[in-house]
Symmetry: C2
Subunit: 319 residues, 2 copies
């Protein structure tokens, strides 16, 4: 069943029950050293430990479990070079649906292998958005598969919303603010919805790389501005903000903060060295934003969604 | 108070209560993918999340908290290029004792900085064992500091034993076997003692790099054979087995398994990629040994102590 409008609190709760058997209730970690550095109390919701190594499993599973029997028979298709590809392949496996994943040639071998490990069929194409969309269109025409958008879909947004729902349920106190990265906007809009429905005072703030600041520009101007030439190490956030997430973000998000790539790598390194856990560059963006804006969050309870931990170990940004 | 003999079960319990306020009760993680690969049920005790990033905090804290007031005033000294250095510096800070840490010039800047961050004083010297021991001797003569051996000390062994004690308390079932790395033998002997006292059937097996196999040779021949020219990526295990740990290992350890560096790096990469947590090469040794000996552990509940997570991010073994 396709969700036709912004998910209600009840819809998010139903979604959570539906996807629970197929996702991890990820842990929330703390780190004394980083707290001291930032001057506040930080609660890290570790979606890097989620199935497929990223929060995307939530939205992917919900979208797949919302399909009709007839749609399951047709199979699903998407294009992605990253975590959404794995999420759809993983989720399709749950209902034994075929998953056709269009990936750019430039995607790393390990990412392609991961999709195949989950039983997905990889179709490679040129790296341009046009080539990806065209290839996807051909796949859909040929196979009849159902296209699953990575974020411009209320079922996906409802799935991503379950992450902040867990966070609010599992924390002993209500956080003053939740920070997430923003790329297409699925995680940020879902988080904002859950904070709106399930907390009486938690603010939600998006964090974005300066080199892919379309969400910030859209948020600031009130006009949806696409990302044309992204230039950032945060590969998960190079995409354009979706229209459905944007509507929710305009209504329920307090602010969007920008950081540069140097700040992102430095925050990523801090987490690797001090927390001994692996986060990907996109995932370090809220940490960088927090450290850049210490005064704003001083003494507060700040929750950060660690969005994912899929990195290419042979190509790390440390030197 | 110096422990004069092999710690009893009661001594380990007392040690655990003493050090509890200063150490983390580290989590035990599981991973479906690695279980399938290995053909058994693995429980990873994550001492890479311990204070100072390694189990060494346990022994270091216990040794320091066992000092007399007069000894605390004199301060403590040790030589180490690795985790013991940080552990002593951290532990000394608890009782506000001076900590003099002799480190080889070759130790990475980050390791020296970590010791200094904990308030320790770093004295550098040549990398040879002779230079390190001579420098330490001079420091002790000049300052009157108490030398804390990294493993040939029953207080340290009792501290390391608390790790397996927690493991046995926190697991829902009794594991069939616990695997740990073996270098100086503090962790392996402590683990063997806790399994002996607190489990009715858990075996303990040491795992060691082929390029530093003195524990295996000592165990096999019944003669303590020093490590003369270690050659392994597992930098924490290049040291010689201590005489006190050896006595315990002879009595309470079932076997020692060997792996080569290629197997170590491959196991390390598997854990980084699949578990999204950072372990150091020494810490990957039991994983490598398990994967090399699948038949032996088939269907069993296997606990692995993840000994530490301190790596130089600018010099990783992946390519």
């Amino acid at each position: 069943m396709q969700l036709k409008e912004t998910p209600s609190g009840q819809a998010i709760s139903v979604t959570h029950e539906r996807i629970k058997p197929y996702i991890h209730r990820t842990p929330i970690l703390t780190n004394t050293y980083i707290d001291q550095l930032a001057g506040c109390n930080i609660h890290f919701k570790c979606e890097n430990f989620q199935k497929v190594g990223a929060f995307k499993a939530r939205g992917g599973v919900n979208a797949i479990l919302s399909l009709s029997e007839e749609e399951v028979k047709r199979g699903v298709a998407t294009h992605s070079s990253g975590n959404h590809a794995q999420a759809v392949a993983y989720a399709a496996g749950i209902v034994a649906a075929k998953a056709y994943i269009v990936m750019p040639e430039s995607a790393t071998a390990i990412k392609k292998a991961a999709v195949e490990d989950y039983g997905g069929e990889v179709i490679t194409c040129d790296s341009s958005l046009e080539a990806r969309e065209l290839t996807l269109q051909r796949v859909v025409e040929k196979t009849g598969a159902v296209f699953l958008h990575p974020y411009n879909d209320y079922r996906v947004i409802a799935g991503q919303a379950t992450c902040a729902k867990e966070l609010l349920e599992d924390l002993e106190m209500t956080p003053d603010v939740i920070l997430t990265p923003v790329g297409g906007g699925g995680l940020l809009s879902g988080t904002a919805l859950s904070a709106h429905y399930f907390s009486d005072h938690t603010k939600v703030i998006g964090t974005e790389p300066e080199g892919a600041d379309d969400a910030w520009r859209s948020f600031t101007t009130g006009q949806l501005i696409p990302q044309t030439a992204p230039d950032t190490i945060a590969d998960g956030l190079r995409t354009s903000l979706g229209e459905k997430p944007f509507g929710i973000i305009q209504k329920h998000v307090s602010d969007i903060l920008l950081v540069n790539d140097k700040e992102i790598v430095s925050a990523m390194r801090l987490v690797w060295e001090r927390m001994k856990i692996i986060i990907e560059p996109s995932c370090a963006v809220p940490v960088a934003a927090l450290l850049k804006n210490r005064d704003r969050f001083a003494g507060q309870h700040v929750a950060i969604v660690f969005s994912g931990g899929n990195v290419d170990l042979t190509n790390l940004p440390f030197n």
